[in-house]
């Protein structure tokens, strides 16, 4: 297996195993996520992409009967330890889900949710952050006149961008995205893709996608997972032009998966 090592990765995953009950879902994953780059996880359905992603912000803690072994370092700090404060970890590592999940509240309240629960009360600061985050998510112009309306009245693509705005409002370092465009039409998808390229300047993005073109277009590095194992991990253009493994090539060219 090709190990692609970085000097100063923001995330370093070493020998990570994950189990749902007795079932081993991730097998000895070792992988570095580079800073301010877009890293894509690809692989056939059920291979463990989402599980791996959810390990990174310890979302899998919520799943009963699950177990994680191995090590994950964020800036050299261990994530996989019971002592870790998951609250502050999740503030540093935001997440955008496959199905957009705005809260049944106003657009405004959605954006500042993370700040509110962190105890920010200053109205002016909140207003500023709403504008900044919505602009960062390329949604400001569309919703600036309806901030006090329910977020559930937005279109699917707008909702997804609202979720991105919500994630960046707490000013994370890393944004995890699990198939953020799979429920969207091509136009909405391309807007999100542009946005991801924009986000890259300030954040590190880890994205799970089923769409090969999308991975090729927006990611700098690509990891190919298969049956819970990391098969190949390299620069995106190398993965897509000259993959080292036969399985990778087969998957990318659509011969299986």
């Amino acid at each position: 297996m090709t190990h692609f090592k970085f000097d100063n990765p923001i995330l370093r995953i070493q020998d990570l195993f994950f189990y749902y009950g007795e079932k081993e879902v991730l097998k000895s994953i070792t992988l570095d996520v580079p800073r301010n780059q877009v890293t894509a996880f690809i692989g056939p359905s059920g291979c463990g992409k989402s599980t791996l992603l959810r390990c990174l912000n310890r979302m899998n803690d919520m799943v009963d009967n699950s177990r994680m072994a191995g090590s994950m370092l964020k800036d050299g700090m261990e994530i996989n330890t019971p002592e870790l404060d998951t609250i502050s970890l999740r503030r540093q590592i935001g997440m955008v889900f496959q199905h957009s999940n705005p809260f049944p509240k106003t657009i405004y309240e959605n954006v500042i949710y993370g700040l509110r629960i962190a105890g920010v009360k200053n109205r002016q600061l909140l207003d500023e952050m709403v504008e900044k985050s919505l602009q960062g998510a390329a949604l400001w112009d569309e919703v600036k006149d309806r901030l006090q309306e329910s977020a559930l009245g937005l279109s699917g693509g707008q909702m997804q961008r609202l979720c991105i705005a919500r994630a960046i409002a707490v000013n994370p370092e890393i944004i995890l995205m699990d198939e953020p465009c799979s429920a969207l039409d091509p136009i909405a998808t391309s807007r999100i893709e542009d946005l991801i390229l924009e986000l890259k300047k300030r954040y590190t993005v880890v994205i799970v996608t089923h769409n090969m073109q999308q991975a090729a277009r927006i990611s700098d590095f690509t990891a190919f997972l298969y049956m819970g194992e990391l098969i190949e991990y390299n620069k995106t253009n190398i993965i897509f032009t000259t993959p080292a493994k036969k399985q990778t090539e087969d998957y990318i060219t659509g011969r299986f998966g």
Partner: protein, 534 residues
């Protein structure tokens, strides 16, 4: 070839018709019930005309025509002849063939009396000496004028009556204080007790004086009377103070009747019951029902919601939780009388009895809390409705998409913050649904109340201007029990019938109003949070 429509059976049309018919049937049943109640209940207050019948045997009857049907001997009519003190019965059947003439005499008068029901007859004399009214004009007008004067005079003694009530309460307080001191140390407190005894005697003297004054006053007023003749010519003298209302229904225009109708409904809603509940107002029962429902909600809503939160959010799923859930759901099906028995045994004898031992030992064996009261009835009802609240709250929580919780956690929210800021607001409409169901159930239930504190006639409301304003130990009246009492326990069933319908109607209205307001609230919340389903 144009594809033909799939045939009737394939489309399942016959099943659709079946479902439609089932719906129509339920609607029809509900609609009929409501119409029957409305017609019977609301008709009661309409000032009915007085029919004067001449019979073949030369006798006369007068009264309101209430019913007409074909009996075994042909057509017959029922009259409400009133005048209970003369005839003993309010209603009378008359054979249709016996009737030789039917008129609606203009001068027929209906008197609504404080006792013995209505009197129907014609005015023959009036005694109002000393009231300063000129006689000689139309007797009916004199009567109305005199009644106005007398009711104004009655108002003069209102303050005295109030003062008497206050003094009475003070005397009761003193009595209890003496009882307490005696219980604690009769010898040690001898001086104090004697002092209190003297005070009490003074109060009693004042009370008796006032009482005397009022009796004299009333006796004076009672000397003013009106004499009426019934259809047969029998004379009856009625003191004016006994008359609640007098009118000549056969002379009244539609407007006058409508106005009287509205006034009567107003009295029903605000007045006190009279004549062993078969007449007068329903205010204490309405108030008691509302207050019981509210006190019940005060206990059952928070308890149910908190329990549901624990069950669905915090308890580790497993056999035990499933067992608890099944048990709670089945609790909703336990017969209500069983809850009543439990309330009697646990709350009244257990908790109430213990409270009496602790706080009011000097009054034993007279119970304070160890007897039925609105608090215990509400708690019993709360116990009965808690499962409903739990079930609907749990359902509301289960309906919240998993993604929304994860979204909250992913932003660094704790479980508690997520619960408070996301889950509870989203579940509120569902919780309100549970609230509506619980209220409707509590308002309509009678059996458990009968043994936990409902009475036929409560001397005082469970809330009033006397400290401590909220008297949760008091017994109360309830519309549901009222229906049972008036309909099945009253000595004069025929006369009580309209009251049963009216009470039923009111109970229905109350439940509908309570439910509607909760639903409006729920829809407001829905509109605010959920403009789109997805």
């Amino acid at each position: 070839m144009i594809p033909s429509k799939p045939n009737f059976r394939k489309q399942g049309e016959h099943y659709v018709w079946g479902t439609g018919a089932a719906l129509a049937l339920t609607l029809l049943a509900a609609f009929t019930l409501i119409v029957v109640i409305m017609v019977n209940g609301l008709g009661y207050f309409w000032p009915a005309r007085l029919a004067h019948l001449a019979l073949a045997d030369g006798s006369f009857v007068m009264g309101e025509l209430t019913e007409e049907n074909i009996g075994p001997q042909g057509r017959r009519v029922q009259l409400k002849v009133g005048n209970r003190d003369i005839y003993g019965l309010d209603f009378k059947w008359v054979d249709g063939r016996e009737i030789t003439s039917l008129t609606y005499p203009d001068e027929a008068v209906t008197l609504e009396r404080r006792e013995n029901g209505n009197f129907y007859g014609t005015l023959s004399a009036i005694r109002v000496d000393g009231l300063g009214i000129q006689t000689g004009q139309d007797l009916f007008l004199t009567l109305q004028e005199a009644r106005k004067l007398i009711s104004r005079r009655m108002e003069d003694i209102d303050p005295v009556v109030k003062e008497m009530g206050r003094v009475n309460l003070e005397m009761e307080d003193i009595r209890l204080e003496i009882q307490k001191l005696r219980y604690q140390d009769a010898a040690g407190y001898a001086a104090e007790i004697q002092e209190l005894d003297l005070l009490s005697a003074a109060k009693r003297k004042a009370f008796d004086q006032m009482n005397q004054r009022i009796s004299d006053f009333r006796a004076d007023l009672a000397a003013h009377t009106v004499t009426l003749a019934d259809a047969a010519g029998t004379l009856k003298e009625v003191p004016l103070v006994q008359i609640m209302r007098a009118y000549r229904p056969n002379r009244m225009s539609l407007w006058e009747k409508s106005w009287l109708y509205i006034k009567k409904i107003g009295e029903l809603l605000t007045g006190e019951p009279r004549e062993s509940n078969t007449e007068g107002g329903l205010f204490p029962a309405i108030f008691g029902t509302m207050m019981m429902v509210m006190t019940m909600s005060f206990f059952s809503i928070p308890l149910g919601v908190v329990a549901a939160i624990y069950l669905s959010e915090y308890a580790k799923p497993g056999v035990l939780v499933r067992l608890v859930r099944v048990a709670v759901y089945n609790l909703a099906g336990v017969p209500s009388i069983v809850f009543g028995v439990f309330g009697l045994g646990f709350f009244i004898y257990g908790v109430g009895g213990a409270m009496d031992q602790l706080f009011f030992p000097e009054r034993l064996p007279t119970p304070v809390f160890g007897t039925g009261g609105i608090l215990w009835a509400s708690l019993t009802m709360a116990l009965m409705t808690v499962p409903v609240v739990i079930v609907s709250t749990e359902e509301a929580f289960a309906a919240i998409p998993k993604g929304i919780r994860e979204g909250s956690y992913s932003l660094g929210a704790t479980k508690f913050q997520t619960l408070l800021r996301i889950l509870l607001p989203s579940a509120t409409p569902g919780i309100i649904t549970g609230f509506v169901l619980a209220m409707a159930r509590a308002a309509g239930e009678v059996a458990p109340l009968m043994i936990t504190g409902v009475v036929k006639l409560a001397p005082a409301l469970p809330m009033d201007g006397e400290f401590p304003y909220l008297h949760l130990d008091r017994k109360f009246m309830h519309l549901g029990f009222h229906i049972y009492d008036v309909g099945f326990q009253s000595p004069n069933v025929e006369a009580a019938k309209p009251m049963v319908f009216v009470t039923t109607l009111l109970l229905l209205v109350l439940v509908v109003v309570l439910s509607l307001s909760a639903m409006v609230l729920r829809n407001r919340m829905r509109a605010r949070y959920q403009t789109r389903a997805f």
